[in-house]
Symmetry: C2
Subunit: 404 residues, 2 copies
């Protein structure tokens, strides 16, 4: 059944392909963006691998290629009047919400970037919840969260909720979260706010706790070069596999952080599209917060690097690996077992990470080899500032060390 689908963050890596996919499937689609990501790129001096036209140009290209309209609202989700006017104008059946600052390293640069990330993400989502409440309470929110909200607990990660038996009584909680960055914390805050909005105002929401996404193209981006998505390979916006592939393409040693035993859930960008479509097609009930763990396979970082190395060598490239010091503070070996069955039950057919798929990525990336900036592979953003780390656990008291 055709829906009105509003995609927040429609200029982004996942937002733009999502908008095209819904449009091609016959839904009426509008996108919202404030182009903040393009500002962050300028700030950091990085750019996407493929040259990305303006969003206006991409929408015109889509009209030409697919003979479909995508509507555009330009504005900032932290501006409540803007958010309410968009919801009121477009009356979405489904809001797909990617409109947040999505990078953990960006959030860890300093106090200003930390405050910006949390205020931007939390206030944007709050504004959306209030606008839904007051203007369009039947709208289904499909929110992109992250598997990183859970952290790496010593027990199995369930799909959103945890039932606890304690002193002879039982209660089901939102699964408790122990995230590993200021950005991941912002998503945890969102989850609690969305849970509140479903409990108190009976809104409908699905929170997609997504794993790490990889991939350069979808069925729609492949239709025309002007429809390419914003693929990043730098330390701040590039996710592990994407970065490794770009490194391999320019004979740069793969930057494995520390031991590489960090296990995470991963998925192909094509599966992100599938999952979001499945979520939209199966709206939550009024008052329900549905949570799906959205990934298809678990890998250690080292396993990913080994697969990229093998695929590269299969193409005749020489691929080295470098265990750089880990800029993050995280367990490099840990228990990890996360349930991810609900989306499979809804019909998700995963694109798993085969050598063939990596080969395809490598070749596609290699076409743009001359655009790759090797300087952005090196990590500069550290979770613990060097000054603090150097003094270590036996550091002097603040008075003694700083007043001296």
């Amino acid at each position: 059944m055709a829906q009105r689908v509003l995609v927040l963050g429609g200029d982004g890596y996942l937002g733009w392909p999502t908008a095209m996919a819904f449009s091609r499937a016959g839904h009426r689609v509008a996108v919202v963006d404030n182009f903040a990501k393009r500002q962050w790129e300028l700030e950091l001096g990085v750019r996407p691998l493929f040259a990305i036209p303006t969003l206006h140009e991409r929408i015109r290209a889509w009209r030409e290629v697919a003979e479909n309209e995508i509507e555009l609202f330009v504005g900032d989700l932290t501006d409540y009047a803007f958010v309410e006017s968009v919801i009121d104008d477009f009356r979405p059946d489904t809001v797909v919400h990617y409109g947040e600052q999505p990078s953990a390293p960006y959030s860890m640069i300093d106090a200003r970037h930390a405050a910006y990330t949390q205020a931007n993400n939390v206030v944007g989502t709050l504004n959306l919840l209030f606008a839904m409440r007051d203007v369009s309470p039947e709208t289904h929110l499909v929110k992109l969260g992250t598997m990183g909200e859970y952290g790496t607990p010593d027990i199995d990660i369930e799909e959103g909720y945890l039932t606890v038996d304690h002193n002879g009584r039982r209660h089901t909680f939102l699964y408790p979260k122990t995230p590993g960055s200021i950005y991941h914390l912002s998503k945890v805050h969102d989850s609690h706010n969305i849970h509140f909005a479903t409990r108190i105002w009976s809104l409908r929401a699905t929170d997609l706790h997504q794993g790490v996404v990889y991939g350069v193209e979808t069925d729609e981006t492949a239709l025309d070069p002007r429809l390419a998505t914003s693929f990043h390979y730098d330390e701040v916006f590039g996710t592990a596999l994407n970065r490794f592939c770009a490194e391999a393409a320019v004979d740069f040693p793969l930057t494995v952080y520390g031991k590489g035993g960090q296990t995470r859930g991963y998925l192909n960008i094509r599966d992100t599209i599938q999952c979001v479509q499945l979520a939209a097609a199966h709206p939550a009930e009024a008052g329900e917060l549905r949570v799906y763990n959205q990934f298809t396979e678990q890998f250690t970082v080292l396993e990913l690097a080994r697969r990229v190395k093998a695929a590269g060598e299969h193409l005749g490239w020489s691929v080295a690996m470098d265990h750089t010091s880990n800029p993050r503070k995280e367990a490099e070996e840990h228990y990890y077992n996360a349930v991810h069955s609900k989306l499979l039950e809804l019909g998700l057919r995963p694109h798993l990470l085969s050598e063939e798929l990596i080969d395809t990525m490598l070749l596609k990336i290699a076409e743009e080899r001359e655009r790759i900036d090797r300087s952005v592979f090196v990590q500069h953003v550290r979770w613990v500032p060097k000054a603090l780390e150097a003094v270590g656990p036996g550091r002097a008291t603040n008075r003694a060390s700083s007043r001296a």
Copy 2:
């Protein structure tokens, strides 16, 4: 041992008495405030029961009465440069952090007040954590959280953490939170951010999950009328018992929300002071987030109202009770059993809620009877807007209801 104690929110109901108590006990004390609370009072047209001098005047009065200095920094915690300069100048051993928007109804007024509350509270605390990290990493943060972070789960509320056995493995989580307002959510966000700062940067923090505070005076406020604290009895800033006492003093029916079966933890303002002093005297280890449930007794709202009625009648007053419609969305009958033993183990000697104590409160409040504004007892801020409530669970779809 004398400490440097920095009290954030030093102009407030709890902040000012806390500052005086530490000062009197021989510590070096500084206070921070931006007087936001006095702006909110103007916005809502409410004022504290006692006439409160400016903070500068109170500090001069304290110098005169106690022959002690309290230093003052005026500024906003959401301004990182200000926060860092205060931490750098004063080099606190302990920061007592009351500097947040503290009212659940205020946070529920509309989208703007919700966003303000969360951004103000979360960013202020984030700035503090970064300033501690970069300037004074041995400082002990004593943060005022709230018992309201837990909500009302069907199992016992433990003191900060919950150990879960699941599928043959075990993990200890921060106790999962299910708060009941946008304000309480902001405190949950703070708790997660503070937990991160202790885990990743090895900061020291104690999170005081405080119950509902009541009382009009402390040992220090009683020394001189100019040292009175900012006591509120209105629907937005007045807590349950304080509001009931003010209502009784002007023969206004006690405003019991709904059935009155809502159970919460309560404590006397004198015990807040004791608890904060105990927390400061027993700093958390580096890397530790200590959590205390800070209250002394559990009551239902109805039980509180009955006690105020009995005490008032004992004074010869006639006291009526009115079960008004509940402006909040909350369970009016529920399981509630919250552990609160750690502060008792540290030496807390509770001032329990006796009829004598209520009599004293009633008489003290009655002295200012002519300043009491009866119009502010009535609740206007509703958790669920009337429009949404009216349509109810069987409401029409957004398209049908709003496009028609």
